[in-house]
Subunit: 226 residues, 2 copies
């Protein structure tokens, strides 16, 4: 049983992410972009991952994860997101700070540690960005979330996640008080630039751009009683 390096783990995670969002084989270029490296380096690594039976790889065809590869990637996602919860809930980090540190913590190898951490955190189902945390068997919780941009005027939703994870976006959301759990009602939609006027938590109103409303996920809610 060969052991797997941090770098290999990062490649698996990248492939997992690409296949998950686009739902097809990951191309060399896509992986190179995700990993911030050259296509040549990716080609090299793909050979190694294929030899270890972690990916299905045929030259010129792109790659998908094998079952073992997929399990490893899912476990990495689990670790990453649990650490993010830890950093936010126990160490008072903000949601724009946690990702970078979790990128390191996710590589700590100790199954017992991660199960204890999960228990310590109360078996959270979602991370600070609203992303689902797979359980020990690799099962994700699903949720019927839609982009805020798809709500029609008069409709209400609760913010449950973000599409984009950049610190600048998350900091913007903090400033606007558009955090997870916030209730937003679409008051008006401007055709011109597709910006929307929102009522936040049945209180103040703000205007957000289309870019913002496309990157926020909400769970549709029945109209507020008031």
């Amino acid at each position: 049983m060969e052991s797997i390096s941090n770098t290999e783990e990062n490649y698996l995670k990248a492939i997992f992410k690409i296949c998950e969002t686009d739902d097809r084989a990951a191309s060399t270029n896509a992986i190179a972009q995700e990993m911030q490296t050259s296509a040549a380096s990716v080609s090299d690594m793909l050979k190694r991952l294929a030899k270890k039976q972690l990916i299905h790889y045929e030259k010129w065809k792109g790659v998908t994860l094998t079952d073992t590869g997929s399990q490893l990637a899912t476990n990495l996602v689990r670790k990453h997101r649990l650490w993010e919860v830890f950093l936010k809930e126990k160490l008072q980090f903000t949601w724009d700070e946690v990702h970078e540190i979790a990128e390191q913590l996710e590589h700590i190898r100790s199954p017992k540690l991660i199960e204890r951490l999960d228990q310590f955190l109360g078996h959270p189902k979602f991370d600070p960005h609203g992303d689902p945390i797979p359980d020990a068997d690799g099962n994700f919780s699903y949720r019927k979330q839609i982009p805020l941009s798809s709500l029609k005027p008069g409709e209400t939703g609760v913010i449950v996640g973000v599409q984009e994870h950049s610190p600048t976006f998350l900091q913007y959301l903090d400033r606007m008080k558009l955090v997870l759990g916030t209730r937003v009602r679409v008051m008006e939609q401007f055709e011109y630039d597709e910006s929307v006027r929102l009522r936040v938590n049945d209180a103040q109103e703000i205007l957000v751009s289309n870019k913002v409303s496309q990157n926020l996920f909400v769970e549709k809610a029945p109209p507020s009683s008031k």
Copy 2:
């Protein structure tokens, strides 16, 4: 400003440990043994550490840490021991389990993380093995500890640390209820094999070998009032 690899960090820690206990330049062989590697590998690495100005190195002479090297090593010790406290106090790991995981966690790079962790743990001064945790400035708490084997019959001490850190020794101590904070009075000392009979917490009596009493540190206590 060159960055430092995990491997380099481990070498610094090894050198720190050797210089600390023996209080003289660390020899290539000593480092090789501590790092579980060959003397040749150590020689290679010493050149690199010297080039980075982390050690004072002259061929055939052995090495000592420079100020920056020493600072880095101390910070590693700080991180290692804080993580050990976390694992024991928050995640209910036993003191024989924490070291191995802390060996990984100590390499996480985030000054903010470690300060938050320190705060979360209530600024502990000692780790689960009774070893002092340096503060953010690198200052250690000292304590007048002596080996249990140096107590004379009739004298009493409180267990505050261990000399040896092997899981088997720590598990033995758990079994014997000789954990940190335990009060032990030397009842009788056998000249033949230098084993001692102890009264534990003013209650039951047990016999421990010389090897055990040499590897346990106690703080001398005034005789119990009873």
